[in-house]
Amino acid sequence: MVDSILPVVLDQAIVRKEGRQIVGPLNLTFGREGGCSILVGPNGAGKTTLLRLMHGLERASEGRVTWSARKDTVYARQSFVFQAPVVLRRSCLENIAYPLFVRGVQREKARAEAAKWIEDIGLAEVAHNDAHVLSGGEKQKLAMARALITKPDVLFLDEPTANLDGASTQEIERLIASAVQSGTRIVMATHDFGQARRLATDILFMYRGRIHEHAAADIFFGGPATDEAAKFMKGDLLI
């Protein structure tokens, strides 16, 4: 891919819900350098809202989110994996192929592409079964494959392993790492510090809707600069 929809720039961006400011004001840039940026912070900090804002699922009440391409390309070249995987009521294969169908890719070509992915995530045997009977971990792998099949420039992940066991978490992390390898920029929320250590190139510590600290992963884990981040890492409750 020659071009990229990155960088994305948040300029004084604010999200308000029911009169309450839940995110912002944020000034933030994700550039073309690649890697995996990880949002950490307590529940309710605004991580989900920030990811949804960048992906265009939430509107900025004030300020702007600006991508470096036209609107129609911007959203075609990014994907989102939700904390609770959304599974379509169709076969596993058709679930994975779905974004290609939507983009008008020929049915057979889309299915062939999906077949490669289903092999990769180890669900080839159940390819034609209804996706609803999958376990939670398998559903999330399915959602990952469906998000990656379009080879996005950016992939947003909202606590993709929050409800999964160790083995499933490992598999999801493998998919994330290999996506980073192939040049997809990851922006992801997690509250699993082990995971953040394993995957992050940089960490954004979020608290009460603001980014309190943005640092390279090794620097952040070497000792956070802010009190809040330090407390949060020690496991102290932040209110």
């Binding site: 699922l57 075609a76 939700f82 959304v86 379509l88 009521r89 939507v102 609803h132 009977v133």
Partner: protein, 234 residues
Amino acid sequence: MNDLLAGLMAAIDLIIHLDRDLVEISLRSLQVTVTAVFIASLVGLPFGAWLAVTRFRYRRLAIALLNALMGLPPVVVGLVVYILLSRSGPFGVFNLLFTPTAMIIAQIIIVTPIIASLSHQSMRDLWYLYHDLLISIRTSKWQRMRTLLWDGRRSLLTATLTGFGRAIGEIGAIMIVGGNIDHLTRVLTTAIALEVGKGNFPLALGLGIVLIAMAILINLAIHILSRTEREGTW
């Protein structure tokens, strides 16, 4: 009691020997109802999906109206269709009164709101589950509707069957606009009413058994469908 038993035996006899009147009337019932339900589904199912994925100013009002239309008294529908189709009415030139077409029109009016409303309910539930993903993938409105209609096809079939059950047992409207004319517009329900009036219980009962059998089959199908729906297998 003996009369009833004798009538029942005679009715079963009519069914077993495929009595010509009985078969003719049953087939006409099926033809009218299947046609009406088919057209009502063609309109009602997509409309329900459209209503689920579209936000517009008077959406709530439209849904309330749709639900109210579900309760339209068939007799009143029959009356209105009668007036519209009668010689002096706006569609009088088509000469449709007292034809199967008139009965189909009346049934479409009765059944479309039912099918659309049931469709809307299941499409709305599915849209709630799919919403984030389909927005994230930037599907067009048509793609959303198609996805919901396809993935919700089992509950939509249930909606259609419910409409069928309602239409096949309906009498008020089709009696008025069809006229219960022998060999032309006589269907199961109107024939039963007539035969009871004439005291011809064997034929009335025979027709009744056919009608009940259809209703039971429909309900069985709905039951099986909603079970597979819950268990997510088909």
